[in-house]
């Protein structure tokens, strides 16, 4: 196996640049073989960060270092073709006039490998994503899932030290996405370079990534392993991603938690000072009348939206505080829940967790 890269190495980057209204300053670090997921709302600077790492957009500050190679710092810049980088974008972007095998061989050919060798490598890469039967297919003859796998094979055929995946599964329908996700996971396990995966799908991030980096408005708001983030999300967006109600709040030693922006929670898990407080949606109960009994958190709220997810429903509530409840379909019909309705929501104090902010 011919290798076009010098050594196996990690990524150390700080991407600073301005793009439209947003000012980006994102640091990323990862070891060889690691997958880092970059998550954030639309327009937070994720794609710009990826294009800067690829060398398509120049940095205005910071650096990109991969192992012992300096790819970019201000005033010194390697072009995309001088970096060992693979890029895969949301809608696959195969070269429409080339067959699958020629799409994958394009990189090795461009990097100076002889024709036969490039082709052998392309066939090998297509085989590794399970597409041996479709090497002669034209892009328009491929399904979106197959096209995504060809795009992955193409990005990996140059043996990049850094693999950049920008929303690689976003253009796929849900069924295809699940299958392609597991294929992607398998292929990434065998890949020994650094992978940066941009996504806004929590499932991608939690199943594919070793580490998560949350980017909001051009800044990193949280980094950690998926387990860290699931336990202690540290931004409103991260809270949404892991599906928890998350509040920036102030706690006292008696278990009273004053939410910034209004509302008070009572917890059996007190932390003093500036805290994050979480409430699992499944721990919220809804009632027509003021509940009596053990729940120490109860508020009259108004329903802002109801969405169904399989056998349960997520109910958005607003009032003294905003809250998402997850209830069974039985409760939806028993309480005749509908948007605009006034209900009581209650949460046991034992379900409210706090941790320092």
């Amino acid at each position: 196996m011919t290798s076009t890269r010098s050594t196996l190495t990690g990524l150390d980057a700080r991407v600073r640049l301005r793009r439209g209204a947003i000012d980006i300053d994102v640091s990323l670090r990862a070891g060889a073989g690691e997958v880092v997921a970059v998550l954030g709302p639309n327009g937070s600077g994720k794609t710009t960060t990826v294009l800067a790492l690829a060398g398509v957009l120049p940095l205005e500050g910071g650096h990109v270092r991969v192992g012992d190679e300096l790819w970019e710092e201000v005033g010194r810049r390697r072009t995309p073709q001088e970096r060992h980088v693979g890029l895969m974008l949301a809608d696959s972007l195969l070269f429409p006039h080339l067959r699958a095998v020629d799409n994958v061989a394009y990189g090795p050919r461009s990097r100076g490998l002889p024709k036969g060798e490039s082709r052998t490598r392309a066939l090998d890469e297509l085989d590794r994503v399970g597409l041996s039967a479709l090497v002669h297919a034209r892009p328009r003859e491929l399904s979106s899932g197959q096209a995504a796998r060809v795009a992955l094979a193409r990005a990996l055929a140059t043996r990049p030290s850094l693999l950049l995946l920008d929303e690689p599964l976003a253009a796929l329908d849900p069924d295809t996405r699940a299958r392609t996700r597991s294929d992607l996971a398998a292929r990434l396990t065998a890949y020994d370079g650094v992978t940066v995966l941009v996504t806004h799908d929590p499932l991608d991030a939690l199943t594919l990534a070793d580490r998560l980096v949350f980017v909001e408005d051009g800044r990193v708001t949280q980094t950690g392993t998926p387990a860290d983030v699931l336990r202690e999300p540290r931004s409103a967006y991260a809270g949404t991603v892991v599906g928890l109600n998350l509040y920036a709040a102030h706690g006292d030693s008696h278990g009273h938690v004053a939410i910034e922006g209004g509302g008070v929670l009572v917890t059996t898990d007190p932390t003093e000072g500036r805290v994050w407080a979480t409430v699992p949606p499944g721990a919220v109960s809804l009632h027509r009348h003021e509940p009596e009994g053990s729940a120490r958190n109860a508020w009259p709220l108004r329903i802002t939206d109801v969405t169904l997810q399989g056998q349960s429903a997520r109910v958005g509530l607003a009032g003294e505080l905003t809250l998402t409840a997850e209830v069974t379909l039985e409760s939806v019909s028993a309480l005749a829940l509908h948007v605009g309705q006034a209900v009581w929501a209650s949460v046991k104090a034992t379900e409210v967790r706090t941790y320092p902010r």
Binding site: A54, P80, Q81, L87, L89, F95, P96, Y106, G107, R154
Partner: protein, 264 residues
């Protein structure tokens, strides 16, 4: 109420239909007249004359040279225009379309002032004994002057339609700009290039005003088919009609062939 609705609909049809029909008649009647007034029994005899053959050969040679110049010079220009986001590009593009709207005779005068004996370039050239006006080269220059803008605009439009992310991907795969252009950019805009060539070539084939002003009307040297039609119209209108039929046939055949292959 229902009747009123139908009435309005018929009214609407008329408001649009009558002008549309007039437009069709305006375009089709002259073509029909050409076909009706051609003396088909004389057609071959009219065309099988040395004058016509010479003019035909000259027309085909000069329009082929023009098409080649468009391809060689126009394609790189279209590529650079399509990729530039410099504010000056808009002005350059506007400037390049001027020959498109300029009366061809004015174009011919402008060409004389450039390449003529006292022109801004012609002066220097005549010092080396090179004369451009009233030569076959002048015919090609005149045809290129009027048809290159068609080509550049058509091809630039096609090139602007390329997804810029394709190039980003190609660059990360190790392709230089030229390799990307050769292996991805050009193959993908081939239909645009073909339709640009067809437009430019058709415009060059019909060129009259700039040619007669700048290159004159010398049989065998600068007398192309349209110029011959003009001359014959004075001498023998029936021969002019026959040559017109020939021009019409060449245009239809070439455009038809390109349409099947490239133009949609």
């Amino acid at each position: 109420m229902v009747g009123g609705g139908t009435g309005r609909r018929v009214g609407g049809r008329l408001v649009l239909g009558v002008p549309a029909l007039l437009a069709v008649l305006l375009l089709v009647l002259p073509l029909l007249a050409l076909l009706l007034r051609t003396d088909w029994s004389r057609l071959l005899a009219d065309l099988a004359t040395p004058t016509v053959w010479t003019a035909l050969r000259l027309s085909l040679t000069t329009t082929s040279c023009t098409a080649a110049l468009c391809l060689l010079l126009g394609t790189p220009l279209a590529w650079l225009l399509a990729r530039s986001d410099h504010p000056g590009t808009r002005w350059l593009r506007a400037l390049l379309t001027v020959p498109l709207v300029l009366p061809p005779v004015v174009g011919g005068v402008a060409l004389l002032l450039t390449w003529g004996r006292n022109g801004i370039l012609g002066g220097a050239l005549s010092a080396f004994g090179i004369q451009i006006p009233f030569t076959t080269v002048a015919v090609v220059l005149a045809e290129t002057f009027v048809s290159l803008p068609f080509y550049v605009l058509a091809v630039e439009g096609a090139m602007r339609g390329l997804d810029p992310r394709l190039e980003a991907v190609a660059r990360t795969l190790g392709a230089s700009e030229l390799r990307y252009l050769r292996t991805v950019g050009l193959p993908l805009v081939l239909p645009g290039i073909a339709s640009g060539l067809a437009l430019a070539w058709a415009r060059a084939l019909g060129e009259f005003g700039a040619t007669i002003t700048f290159a004159g009307n010398f049989p065998g040297r600068t007398q192309t088919l349209p110029l011959l039609v003009y001359v014959e119209l004075e001498r023998d209108p029936q021969v002019a009609t026959s040559i017109s039929i020939l021009l019409l046939a060449i245009s239809v055949v070439v455009l038809g062939a390109l349409r099947g292959r490239w133009l949609r």
